[in-house]
């Protein structure tokens, strides 16, 4: 070919088509070739150092690829970072372990850590019923207000989370006449607006409501000298906050008729808080953090 090259001395490869189309021999610049070979070397070295090649599955190692000489893996890196994180958390966790919820609240830094940490626990365990910010849901109490069925002190909150709660109110559809139920429902509605009548109070006492709701109908049976209250978890009927949505006359009438958590009564109100501590769902540390968190939602006492 070279002897009859029609374009001699032109740096072509000797391949000529259609009279004058020819392939020139212009190699890429040297720096480009260096970069090209360097990247191939990089690829080989990378393949040796890091996991790269698929392999038949090795049951002993639980892996189906080459390990690489560095022994690096994403999981190892993840575990290392997690260990780092746990080390940072450990100092706080250790202090929380040795302190009571009340003492945690005294330490601004620790309180901040506890609230941040418990926010996750609250989201996982509590928010399904009580709402993401403790705003409650129909049938499930608001935790951000200051109305507590079982008391809003740190100790009472701890008790509620650990042991759970189950409210009880008898169904009165067979023991009271519809007319009596109606009068009681009107009485408690008025009571919440501060307009209770003496006749209403008389019926309230006569039908034994005070046994659970207390002589003042505020859900308190008696107050101890240290400020603690004795309660069976009956609702405070004197305030504007209703245990069951939407509240008011109709709700009250329904609750009096069908009661709360009455076995065998169709349509009874359902009000159960699971025992998170007793069932082992949450450990003591998590509960302690949640106590602080719930207490700080806005209504802790």
């Amino acid at each position: 070919m070279a002897e009859n090259n029609p374009f001699p001395g032109e740096n072509n490869t000797g391949h000529v088509w259609d009279d004058n189309l020819r392939e020139l021999n212009n190699p890429p610049p040297r720096w480009w070739m260096i970069a090209f070979w360097a990247s191939i070397i990089w690829w080989i070295v990378y393949g040796l150092l890091y996991p790269m090649w698929p392999m038949p599955y090795q049951p002993a190692e639980g892996k189906g690829y080459t390990q690489g000489f560095l022994g690096w893996s994403q999981m190892k890196e993840y575990e290392e970072s997690l260990a780092q994180l746990e080390a940072v958390r450990a100092q706080y966790e250790e202090r929380i372990r040795n302190l009571t919820p009340a003492e945690i609240l005294q330490d601004p830094g620790l309180k901040q850590y506890t609230l941040a940490s418990a926010k996750v626990l609250f989201g996982d365990n509590c928010s399904a019923c009580h709402g993401s910010g403790g705003q409650g849901n129909p049938g499930f109490p608001v935790l951000a207000d200051d109305d507590w069925l079982y008391g809003g002190t740190l100790a009472k909150i701890q008790e509620s989370i650990t042991n759970g709660r189950k409210g009880v109110m008898p169904a009165h559809k067979s023991t009271l006449s519809p007319e009596e139920i109606d009068r009681l429902a009107r009485f408690v509605t008025n009571l919440s607006q501060g307009k209770a009548t003496e006749a209403g109070w008389a019926l309230f006492r006569a039908k034994g409501c005070i046994a659970c709701h207390g002589p003042k109908a505020d859900g308190v049976l008696s107050r101890l000298p240290n400020g603690d209250i004795i309660t069976v978890g009956a609702a405070n009927l004197t305030d504007g906050i209703w245990r069951f949505e939407p509240g008011g006359y109709e709700s009250a009438k329904y609750t009096i008729t069908y009661g709360v958590n009455q076995p065998g009564v169709e349509g009874t109100r359902n009000a159960v808080m699971p025992a998170f501590g007793k069932t082992g769902k949450l450990d003591e540390q998590s509960i302690k953090k949640l106590v602080v968190y719930v207490h700080e939602l806005g209504g802790g006492q």
Partner: protein
């Protein structure tokens, strides 16, 4: 050759190949050894390059006991003389970038690639590297000869010294760069004893290798094939842009002067190729404005020196616009709308930065109103809202700050009896509750004003306030 007139096709091919002769693609196959000659633009170039002394020595400026300009990334604080900029103020950085982008655009539109030719680190460092090369290896012919010569002890010695000096400059560059991010005296104290952080060593190593490779080996190839700005700036020029230009009307037809020639029958260009010899990117300016031209103006020096020697007027290659060269009317700079638009953007960006730097609050307050629930009815019928106050302390000292609120009266602020300890350079959160009797509310939303105040250690009061909303039930 036969005497037949060329066919049209052959003529076209001939023209194409004649033009192809001009279009040499420089892919670095041959090292460009540019000649250095003294001249006006050469001097200007050295002076403009001294801007980079700031880069090397800036970190050693002190201000109130600390480095005057320090980009403290681990602590997320950026000290610029008296001002401390935190990531929250970073909107100013976007204005700063805008300012420099438009500054680049306006200079390029007015006078071509001034940045490339006079200020760019690639140009300046390459200039210094080749200066060292010349001092060690001699003029371009000597350098070419040395490159081709077999390895001798002399060649080895020269090359070793050269590469050592190049690496040394590369190292100094990396060290200076890191000094802007790490306190310089600490860097000096820790770097050579191996106590500095790993990223410091990695950065210095990368800069050393990068400087050595880019300024020592790649040189003009960087401008040709790596740098995006080179190409972007090329399109920002127009017919009115002043760039180093060969005056083809005066110069063509070019021709060599013969010995003893008295009359001139060619243009002013005597085809001495001095303009090509001095060009650091190895182009021929006589082909007109082209991608390889970084407008360093060294060819102007070269041509003027020749014109002086042969007694022809200077300025055969000079700063001129395409319009001027083609004899079209040249608009004064300030009558071009492009200049005004660029200047307006420049002023807007600059005033934004000035506003930002002068209005940096010592403390910044952000308020997050609790969304779930928006409000809570309490047993006594009053309405309670929950707020998380995020207090950013931008000072260099910790503060003790009191929180107060004013809004629908009477309001009770809960959780604010203890002052918040605001650590400097950090955001301190504080959760507070506001309780308002329902009767005091006359709508779903009532404005509420939070205020935090405290005292600096020198007795100067600091305070800031921010409005939020108090939510209540629908009426």
């Amino acid at each position: 050759m036969n005497d037949r007139p060329l066919s049209r096709r052959d003529q076209a091919v001939e023209d194409l190949y004649a033009e192809a002769g001009h279009w040499e693609v420089n892919t670095g196959g041959e090292t460009i050894h540019a000649k250095r000659i003294p001249g006006r633009w050469r001097t200007i170039k050295w002076w403009s390059a001294t801007v980079w002394l700031i880069f090397f020595f800036g970190p050693y400026l002190r201000w109130e006991g600390r480095q005057a300009v320090l980009f403290d990334i681990p602590n997320r604080q950026y000290h610029i003389f008296g001002a401390t900029v935190l990531p929250q103020d970073f909107w100013m950085l976007s204005l700063l970038l805008l300012f420099f982008a438009i500054l680049l655009a306006v200079t390029t539109a007015l006078a071509g690639r001034v940045w490339c030719g006079f200020f760019c680190f690639q140009t300046v460092w390459t200039d210094v590297f080749t200066w060292i090369e010349e001092k060690l290896e001699g003029q371009p012919p000597a350098r070419r000869k040395l490159d081709k010569a077999p390895w001798t002890f002399r060649k080895l010695r020269i090359k070793l010294i050269k590469h050592f000096l190049w690496l040394l400059i590369g190292f100094a560059t990396g060290f200076a760069f890191v000094s802007w991010f790490v306190d310089a005296p600490t860097l000096w104290a820790t770097f050579f004893t191996g106590e500095a952080a790993i990223p410091v060593y990695v950065t210095v190593a990368l800069f050393t290798a990068g400087t050595y490779g880019l300024a020592g080996w790649l040189r003009e190839q960087t401008c040709f094939w790596l740098c995006p700005y080179a190409r972007i700036q090329g399109v920002m020029m127009d017919r009115t842009t002043l760039v180093p230009t060969y005056d083809f009307r005066r110069g063509e037809p070019r021709g060599r002067i013969k010995k003893g020639q008295k009359t001139q029958n060619t243009g002013d260009c005597i085809d001495c190729k001095q303009c090509v010899a001095v060009c650091p990117t190895g182009i021929d300016i006589r082909h007109g404005q082209q991608e390889g031209c970084i407008t360093c103006a060294l060819c102007i020096d070269a041509c003027d020196a020749v014109m002086e020697k042969i007694g022809r007027p200077k300025g055969l290659i000079r700063y001129a616009s395409l319009d001027e060269l083609e004899g079209k009317p040249v608009k004064p700079m300030l009558l071009r709308p492009r200049v005004w638009v660029y200047l307006l953007i420049l002023i807007a960006a600059l005033s934004g930065i000035v506003y930002g730097l002068t209005s940096l609050d010592p403390i910044q307050l952000k308020i997050l109103h609790e969304r779930a629930p928006l409000f809570v009815t309490l047993s006594d019928g009053s309405i309670q809202n929950k707020y998380t106050l995020k207090i950013l302390n931008k000072l260099n000292e910790d503060l003790s700050l009191r929180i107060s609120a004013s809004g629908p009266e009477p309001l009770e602020l809960i959780g604010a009896d203890q002052p918040v300890q605001a650590q400097h350079g950090f955001v301190s959160p504080a959760i507070v509750f506001v309780k308002v009797p329902r009767e005091a509310l006359h709508g779903e939303r009532t404005p509420i004003l939070f205020r935090v105040e405290g005292t600096r250690s020198d007795g100067q009061p600091v305070s800031t306030q921010r409005e939020s909303v108090f939510f209540g039930p629908r009426y």
